[in-house]
């Protein structure tokens, strides 16, 4: 097991290397000039060239990649071209909102979607099942920003129950922290919830037809006990897989949610950096994202062992 984990961790190195190379290549061969953006419209061609030279953007691309890779290998993600601040500092500043949003969305989604998926399986073919599945189709159909605007209009503007926008750190108090997360988590979580509910229903439905479930019921166990102790654990592997994949997708989805709700997270950082061609920041954030994806996948693989003792690495 430990050898497996060590092997997987070692395997992340070439993955991150490939990600770094591809991201660097795409960025540096795509058009756009940060020096021109910084210098502004009143700058002369010579001034922009001087700025480009000062930023090291006039060097050959392979040389820039080598210099950046060397720094990354030494734990240095470089400096933002625009703010002149360490990329690691910028990422650290934006990490908390994104983690908070992703975790609150995941928690809220799992707590709602798994039970309704189980209930839909249990009541398969009834109006309850059809309602849950109808909700799932709707959830998939609404883009995040539409749900976001609707929630802002109804819950924040019309009813005045929650703030319209912004993010409060946990240091500012638990109340403001949570109230600022409710609407973004709902907006971001609706489609994720639909996905998990559908997968849970399918998995549990399959398990409910197994002999051991029939045996459990014939022993006289209550239905909730059968569902909770026999059906759900045996249906857990695909559910956990989809939750893991979903978290990775959520990290991509926070870009829109963070923009709509003015949350200063990593999603906005990467989009702003792409628009301004702040290469070191884009590269740094995408490396972090890649690392997170790898870690999530590893976590899911390890969780399989816990959920299904037949699985061995």
């Amino acid at each position: 097991m430990y050898r497996y984990v060590a092997r997987r961790l070692l395997a992340t190195i070439p993955v991150l290397g490939v990600v770094a190379l591809v991201v660097f290549g795409i960025l540096h061969f795509s058009p756009g000039d940060p020096a021109a953006l910084i210098a502004g419209d009143h700058a002369s061609v010579e001034q922009i060239a001087a700025m480009r030279a000062k930023l090291g953007l006039d060097r050959p691309v392979w040389e820039q990649f080598a210099a950046w890779s060397w720094c990354v290998l030494h734990g240095d993600l470089g400096l933002s071209i625009f703010s002149n601040q360490p990329v690691s500092h910028l990422i650290a500043q934006r990490l908390e909102p994104t983690i908070a949003l992703t975790l609150s969305t995941t928690l809220f989604t799992v707590l709602v979607a798994v039970p309704i998926g189980v209930i839909a399986a249990w009541r398969a073919g009834t109006w309850i099942d059809r309602t849950v599945m109808g909700f799932a189709v709707l959830g998939f159909s609404f883009p995040v920003f539409v749900v976001g605007y609707l929630l802002i209009y109804v819950v924040a503007m019309t009813l005045g129950w929650l703030p319209i926008q912004g993010y409060r750190k946990l240091d500012d108090g638990l109340g403001p922290f949570l109230t600022h997360l409710v609407l973004p988590s709902l907006a971001l979580g609706i489609s994720f919830m639909a996905l998990i509910a559908r997968i849970t229903r399918t998995s549990v439905l399959e398990v409910l037809n197994q002999d051991y479930v029939r045996t459990a019921r014939s022993k006289g166990l209550a239905m909730w006990q059968v569902l909770l102790y026999h059906a759900l654990p045996n249906a857990a592997v695909p559910i956990v897989t989809i939750i893991g994949v979903g978290i990775a997708v959520l990290i991509g989805g926070v870009v829109v949610t963070e923009s709509v709700f003015a949350i200063p997270g990593l999603g906005r950082l990467v989009v702003d950096s792409i628009l301004s061609r702040d290469y070191p920041v884009i590269q740094g954030v995408l490396l972090v994202f890649a690392g997170v994806y790898v870690a999530i996948n590893l976590g899911i693989d390890l969780l399989y062992v816990v959920l299904d003792p037949r699985i061995r690495y």
Partner: protein, 529 residues
């Protein structure tokens, strides 16, 4: 059981403590007068000499001060300067600083700081470089006085030091001002009315300023960037919101106090809110214009460029970009309407919109229907809709238009290409600028010709000569005459095509009083009730 109860009690105590701490913070914040604003853009760069970005200029006005500043009549007034004089031969300018000027690290402002600041600004800014070109030396006399000695008399020394458009000559401590102009400064220490709170700065998201207790304002009332910068609030929290509609909802609900530049298409929603004031902030506003590439057919021919003057209707652009006719005005003047250098000489084509004449001129220029490349920055809320109008306008004149959609960043690179349009170059693009940034031949980068020409690369030696004459001329009447000649030559050669002027608005809660009308939004003089 006892352990569980104990844990629960501990948890409740922690929660209660957190609530108490939060409430305490809220009370402390509640006693302070805080303005929460949504700025014009995301502040990432803090050095106003390193970049010309307006968001950085606006930030800089909070933190740094200037030697001179433009008042509401756009006339230069002393700001950090107490007294100044010019020698009889008009070559030596001597400046003495006001007493009591302090940097935010509580050290006094010295003449040497100003000398270093002017040198750094003079290495970057267009008007600054022009001034430095005529400067023999600039030196400190003592801690409070310095002199600027010219090689020959020029008429724009004080205008340059008072300019309100980027790059503004902000005064910085000598140690910062000695930074290479192509390297961003690493400290934000000024002598302005607000202190920059470094610990709370999140680049691209949030910037916080607090009142600088050591600032000594001038005695005169505030007037645009000039006069007494009396701070009547404790703190400004400027948080950028990428979604314009959400920003407007937040202002309506009182979550923020000011939106410095609300989206044009959403202004009408704000105007219906009785708790919100919507009004133009910048007295002069912006100018929109079309650049054509003078290097490649068809616009390498003067007649083809002149055709555009006859075939374009400014109102069509302004109606699409702004919509509200009270906020825009048609204007053919290269140096803007409403400025000291307004001239309408040679602008007959603008008054006589005539697409047929435009077609005839294009034909005379040898245009035979080959596609022209127009750049369209689709992520820009002003330039993209204007580009759509330009496409239709050109097609109306019989021009085949190949629209290249891209983001603004890509356009900044593409427009610099002198290649033929089919090989990565271009024929046409639109841009905008503040009126204060184009109001005279030295400020107006876009009107420069030949070696100094901006993208489009126009070259008419008469413009170069007349611009130099204007810079050297000391007599206002003769300057005005030169401006008239420049205007005529610019339109004859079609350096670029003015598409009209418009004013942006600000929106703020009614409980704010004393907002100053100006291109940048200032937070001195503002009261929050």
């Amino acid at each position: 059981m006892f352990t569980k109860v104990r844990s629960l009690t501990a948890l409740l105590l922690v929660a209660a403590a957190m609530v108490a701490v939060t409430a305490g913070d809220a009370r402390a914040q509640g006693q302070k007068k805080i303005i929460k604003s949504v700025p014009i853009g995301a502040l990432k760069i803090v050095d106003p000499i390193w970049t010309t970005a307006y968001i950085t200029r606006n930030h800089a006005y909070m933190v740094w001060d200037t030697l001179f500043a433009l008042d509401a009549k756009n006339e230069p007034q002393p700001q950090m300067v107490d007294t100044w004089n010019v020698s009889a031969n008009k070559l030596t300018y001597t400046f003495t600083l006001r007493p009591g000027l302090m940097w935010h690290d509580n050290t006094p402002v010295r003449a040497a700081d100003c000398v270093a600041s002017i040198r750094r600004w003079g290495a970057k800014d267009g008007m600054g470089r022009a001034l430095m070109g005529f400067t023999d030396k600039i030196e400190a006399i003592d801690d409070k006085s310095f002199r600027l000695v010219l090689k020959q008399p020029v008429g724009f020394v004080i205008d340059a030091l008072a300019k309100i458009d980027s790059n503004v000559p902000f005064m910085m401590p000598e140690r910062l001002a000695k930074t290479d102009p192509n390297t961003q400064i690493t400290e934000v220490i000024g002598s302005g009315p607000f202190r920059f709170i470094k610990e709370e700065f999140v680049p691209g998201v949030k910037v916080v300023y607090e009142k600088f207790a050591g600032y000594v304002p001038r005695k005169e009332p505030a007037s645009q960037a000039a006069g007494g910068k009396v701070v009547k609030i404790d703190r400004v929290e400027s948080v950028y919101m990428p979604d314009a509609a959400v920003a407007i909802a937040a202002l309506g609900a009182g979550e923020v106090d000011v939106i410095e530049s609300p989206a044009n298409d959403l202004v009408k929603i704000l105007e219906k809110n009785p708790n919100v004031v919507v009004r133009p902030n910048d007295p002069l506003g912006y100018v929109l214009f079309m650049l054509v590439n003078h290097l490649h057919p068809p616009f390498d021919k003067k007649e083809a460029r002149q055709a555009l003057l006859w075939g374009i209707k400014q109102a069509e652009f302004l109606e699409v970009v702004i919509g509200d006719s009270k906020r825009y005005t048609e204007c053919p003047a290269i140096y803007g309407c409403g400025t000291q250098n307004e001239s309408r000489a040679g602008a007959e084509a603008f008054a006589g919109f005539n697409p047929e004449k435009a077609k005839a001129l294009l034909k005379a220029a040898g245009y035979n229907g080959q596609p022209i490349v127009q750049l369209d920055p689709t992520d820009n809320a002003v330039l993209h809709p204007a580009a759509l109008v330009a496409t239709q306008t050109l097609r109306r004149m019989g021009v085949a238009v190949d629209v290249h959609a891209m983001d603004f960043s890509t356009m900044t690179q593409r427009r610099a290409s002198k290649n033929p349009p089919a090989q990565g170059g271009w024929n046409v693009f639109l841009t905008n600028a503040t009126m204060t940034g184009i109001a005279n031949p030295l400020l107006n980068t876009f009107s420069l010709n030949c070696e100094q020409a901006w993208y489009g690369w126009p070259c008419d030696k008469r413009i170069v000569d007349l611009s130099r004459q204007w810079a050297l001329e000391l007599d206002p009447a003769k300057r005005k005459q030169i401006i008239g000649e420049l205007q005529k030559v610019h339109l004859e050669n079609v350096t670029y095509i003015p598409l009209g002027q418009y004013r942006s608005v600000i929106a703020y809660r009614k409980n704010l009083q004393g907002m100053i009308a100006s291109p940048p939004l200032f937070y001195w003089n503002v009261e929050k009730n």
